[in-house]
Amino acid sequence: MVENNEVELSEAEAEQYDRQIRLWGLESQKRLRASKVLIIGLCGLGAETAKNIILSGVKSVCLLDNEKLKEIDLYSQFLTPPDKVGENRAEASLQRARALNPMVDVTAETRAVDDLPDEYFTTFDIVCATGLKQEQLERINNVCRDSNKKFLCGDVWGMFGYMFADLVDHEYSEEIVQHKAVKRGPDDTEKNARETVSITVKRRAIYVPLQNALSADWRRPELRSRLRRGDPSYFVLKILLRFRDEYNRNPDPAKRKSDTETLLRMRDELVKELSLPAGFISDDLLTDVYGIVAGAAAVVGGVIGQEVVKAVSQREPPHNNMFFFNPVKCVGFVELYGQ
């Protein structure tokens, strides 16, 4: 994993990162400073993720995108000036991304992921991908996995969003707060004689690749019992990924009516295929999946950004392995799939 850089922080770094060092410690900050991050897909979610990672103070961030900036991106993409519609999204994001934190080396790559060799992806410590098709995600995930590099992906459709993480074989430390009885003076009561001490424990988490998580077998009883919890977000994700694969695009606000019909039809097919309870995936989850809503991009980009910080700093338990944001209930939750 990321080499712990032994060089001490400069005064400027200590000053700028003061508050977060107070939260996650100096060691984490040094690990962050040594890590190289690749962000694929500079839509709104990519911009949110890039912002959070650049602010955290990593060594370098590469923004990879071969697409052109579209009007609809401006609903959530704040790194690209509105007058750059039609230009490459990664290049258009560069200037503002660099201004977020001049101490981070930010670059742009405009080639398509399919044109890049496997070795390209493994030059980074961690890859965050968004806006790709399932097979592209799986390819990059497997390439990273073979080189023991971390992989995250996520998407936001309208207000719905998800994140997947494959940190392979991840070691991390976790701070645990314990209560300890201490007695200093005769007037110490039980109450004030209790002190909290935090101890750090080493832990390890084993991950599975994306293809395992997305091909979870719902006939198995242990997954079946999950249906009782009643959140259909996993299936909403499957439907939206299928839509993207089948039509080579995301649901289009300009075709709101017909695309919604298509999505609901795909929903019915999936319900039949996996014998899910009727009405389990309600219509309202599939009617607000157009564009990328800024608030939802901020939420999911915040979660992905935090997971990148946890992964490279090897501090605090990262999510294993899927996070969903269900906007109808405003709930965000983590579940393990494919193990």
Binding site: L26, N52, D288, A298, V303
Partner: protein
């Protein structure tokens, strides 16, 4: 039409957004994020208020600001940066305090939603009242470290920000600070008091000399010492510490000798204090531990190295000199205000706290750690702010759609709960507390005090600090007699009279109102001979902040995790997962000075 592409939202929401007007209070970490989301989503009319200017320690999360903006107005720079995301929206920036006559009830009434992104209770209380008075939905937000929350406040529908009593700010008994410190924080509080005694605003409640009235030392209260060195101890000679220090020309050695030598010997003479405690060790200026040590190899930030006592004394001398020069450069009668980000002020407190800690056998700490404790720094990070601001704007969208009942509070947890949830929404809105002294139809509260000694001036303080009013007026119920007027001069001549002298007695009720907040409360006076100052008494069943619950067995979280669930009170504020955004230590508004705050029935002054 501001929305660029039709069809992202359904027609109803598209239209509601197009016709909306939003006020954002605060342009800090959450405020920047909220503003970005609003502008991108296409909210056409936004106003943003912030009193603050940009500091370098904001830059790790307040992403609308860059290094070249340090020192500039947050509201103005936030507006300029956000407009570059979408020049089609209208933003009005106010570099101002929200607590001002310029932002009255009619100002608030023009907005569909007010979004709070504040860092202090005083301003939150105020905006809460303005939104209740204007009947505008308020979205409260806050983060602390990895945790955060979003809450809707709507008159008559939900609880208000002041419905649940909040834990008073943590205070320590005066005699612990002055006589018998046992923890680093006691020494840090003492050092901050010392700063104010020497350079800041002098406050009789912040005496730093030995407290001879300590009941533990009762009877023999250092009698022997009194006779031997009665001139140097604060309680004996009523000369102010400031004057004495000035007379010595802030001579570091003399100051040191008095504070860390003579005063400690005086404490030692109060023998009862040390019967069961380890007694302190007085120090001598020219024979300090660590003098001949070569500094050990240190890894980490320079501020994370713990200084030797000898080094502390040197820093003490240097910072005294710098602070003296700072003070001398100001107009006569002016004073310094302690600020964790002022180098000399922070050096002074670090040095004094550590020297005192050493004397009392308390572990010494690094400047880095002492800064956190002395400055009440609640670490803030970009990701938690982004998540909370994102949730807040999504909640604003459902409110605009008219789905108020569905806009329940949402908690961002530092770690997932047992159900795997990271964002935990409440199932229902929390209804108002019918006995809330702010949002109840007829607000009422008791004020316990000694009518024979409490002056009108002190009563004014009670209304301002206890009831969070800005400019209170008070009349006697049923008589219409004006007791207190916010008009300058009208009742000032009574300021030093006691309540009894102006004709108020036990059980009498005052109607107290604040014109700006459009808030009136009935205050019942309760005579209590024992009460030294005043304290608020809420209706009998109003709960005191509940004692902290033990963590469930599976929760390995720190003490500061927010507790989701409707039963949650806002009582957990000493761990600061109250809606407190940011780490700013309430510089915008002066925190209440009283030892007893809000609804605390607990007598904090133990000695």
């Amino acid at each position: 039409m501001v929305a660029r592409v039709a069809g992202v939202f359904d027609e109803k929401l598209t239209e509601a957004i197009a016709n909306s007007k939003i006020l954002v209070v605060g342009a800090g970490g959450i405020g920047c994020e909220i503003l970005k989301n609003l502008v991108l989503t296409g909210f056409p009319q936004i106003e943003i208020i912030d009193l603050d200017t940009i500091d370098v320690s904001n830059l790790n999360r307040q992403f609308l600001f860059h290094k070249e903006h340090v020192g500039k107005s947050k509201a103005q720079v936030a507006k300029d940066s956000a407009l570059s995301f979408n020049p089609n929206v209208n933003i009005i920036a106010h570099h101002d305090s929200v607590i001002s006559n310029d932002y009255g009830v009619s100002y608030f009434k023009q907005f569909n939603i007010v979004m709070n992104a504040l860092d202090n209770r005083v301003a939150r209380n105020h905006v809460n009242r303005m939104c209740l008075a204007a009947n505008v939905p308020l979205i409260e937000t806050g983060t602390a470290g990895y945790a955060g929350q979003v809450e809707l406040i709507k008159k008559g529908l939900t609880q208000c920000y002041e419905c649940q009593p909040k834990a008073p700010q943590k205070t320590f008994p005066g005699c612990t600070i002055r006589n018998t410190p046992s923890e680093p924080i006691h020494c840090i509080v003492w050092a901050k008091h010392l700063f104010n005694q020497l350079f800041g605003e002098e406050d009789p409640d912040q005496d730093v000399s030995p407290d001879t009235a300590d009941p533990e030392a009762a009877g023999e209260a250092g009698a022997s010492a009194l006779s031997s060195e009665g001139t140097t101890s604060g309680n004996v000679e009523r000369k102010s510490t400031r004057q004495w220090a000035a007379d010595t020309n802030y001579d570091a050695e003399k100051l040191f000798t008095k504070l860390f030598g003579d005063d400690i010997r005086y404490l030692l003479s109060m023998e009862n204090l040390w019967k069961k405690r380890r007694p302190p060790t007085p120090l001598t200026w020219d024979n300090l531990p660590g003098k001949d040590d070569t500094p050990a190899q240190h890894s980490g930030l320079p501020d994370q190295r713990v200084w030797s006592v000898h080094e502390c004394a040197q820093v003490f001398a240097a910072s005294c000199k710098a602070l003296q020069a700072d003070l001398a450069g100001r107009p006569e009668g002016d004073h310094l205000v302690w600020d964790k980000d002022e180098k000399s002020a922070m050096d002074f407190v670090t040095a004094c706290a550590n020297i005192r800690a050493y004397i009392f056998n308390i572990p010494t700490k690094s400047r880095f750690e002492i800064k956190s404790m002395a400055g009440n720094i609640i670490p803030a990070i970009a990701t938690a702010n982004a998540i909370v601001a994102g949730l807040a704007v999504l909640r604003a969208q459902s409110i605009l759609r008219g789905h108020l009942a569905a806009a329940t509070s949402v908690y961002l947890r530092p770690k997932v709960n047992h159900r795997g949830q990271l964002f935990v929404p409440e199932k229902t809105l929390t209804p108002p507390n019918p006995k809330c002294y702010v949002c109840a139809p007829k607000p009422e509260v008791g004020l316990a005090c000694n009518l024979k000694s409490l002056t009108l001036k002190e009563l004014t303080t009670a209304f301002k600090d206890g009831l969070n009013m800005q400019a209170p007026d008070a009349t006697v119920e049923g008589k219409g007699l004006v007791v207190l007027s916010s008009e300058p001069g009208e009742t000032d001549h009574n300021n030093d009279k006691t309540l009894e002298q102006i004709g108020l007695n036990d059980g009498c009720a005052l109607l107290v109102d604040d014109f700006l907040q459009n808030y009136e409360v009935r205050v019942r006076l309760q005579q209590e001979d024992e009460e030294k100052t005043w304290r608020l008494v809420t209706d009998a069943d109003a709960p005191m902040p509940a004692p902290k619950e033990e963590k469930p067995a599976n929760g390995s979280n720190g003490a500061d995790e927010p507790k989701p669930g409707p039963s949650r009170t806002r009582a957990d504020s000493d761990s600061d997962m109250e809606i407190i955004e940011e780490d700013e230590d309430e510089t915008t508004v002066k925190p209440p000075k009283r030892r007893r705050t809000e609804m605390s029935d607990e007598v904090v002054e133990l000695c």
